[in-house]
């Protein structure tokens, strides 16, 4: 056991939780943006097919966009 500081297993578990938080933040931000873009009419008891595809496309395009931007940025 490491006597000089913190339990390394604990640190590893905490790192895993940090990754989950980051992933959840990305999803939350993206849902916020895509909701605004795609859910423009009134709220029903289910989504229309076009609303579902819009949300799905929005998320996928945004992920591509981020990739694009990163590649562009790294070229400079």
């Amino acid at each position: 056991m490491d006597a000089s500081g913190v339990n390394p297993r604990l640190l590893a578990l905490i790192e895993e939780e940090k990754r989950k938080v980051i992933a959840n933040e990305i999803i939350a931000k993206l849902t916020d943006t895509c909701w605004d873009k795609c859910i423009t009419g009134s709220i029903g008891s289910s989504f229309s097919n076009s609303e579902v595809s819009c949300l799905s496309n929005c998320a996928a395009r945004f992920a591509e966009l981020k990739m694009h931007i990163m590649q562009q940025f790294q070229k400079r």
């Binding site: 939350a28 916020d32 799905s56 998320a59």
Partner: protein, 87 residues
Amino acid sequence: MDSFSSSSMSSSGSQQSTEAVMEQIKAQLAQAYAQEFMETLGTKCFAKCVTKPGTSLTGSESSCISRCVERYMEATGIVSRALFSQR
């Protein structure tokens, strides 16, 4: 934070205290997430459902808000699946 490092030094109790600390951390993270989520729901559903605030919420405003909460949770799932099937 003092009790945390001293309990990690006792070899017999360290497994248990790691679990206990993780439970606490997870509970606090879950609470923070829930609060942020509810903030967002409030903003989105107020915008969609309460267009002309009156002296109380009408029946149709209330049902709109319920549907909105359901739809937003569904939207979160759709976005989440779309993102994680990209990798």
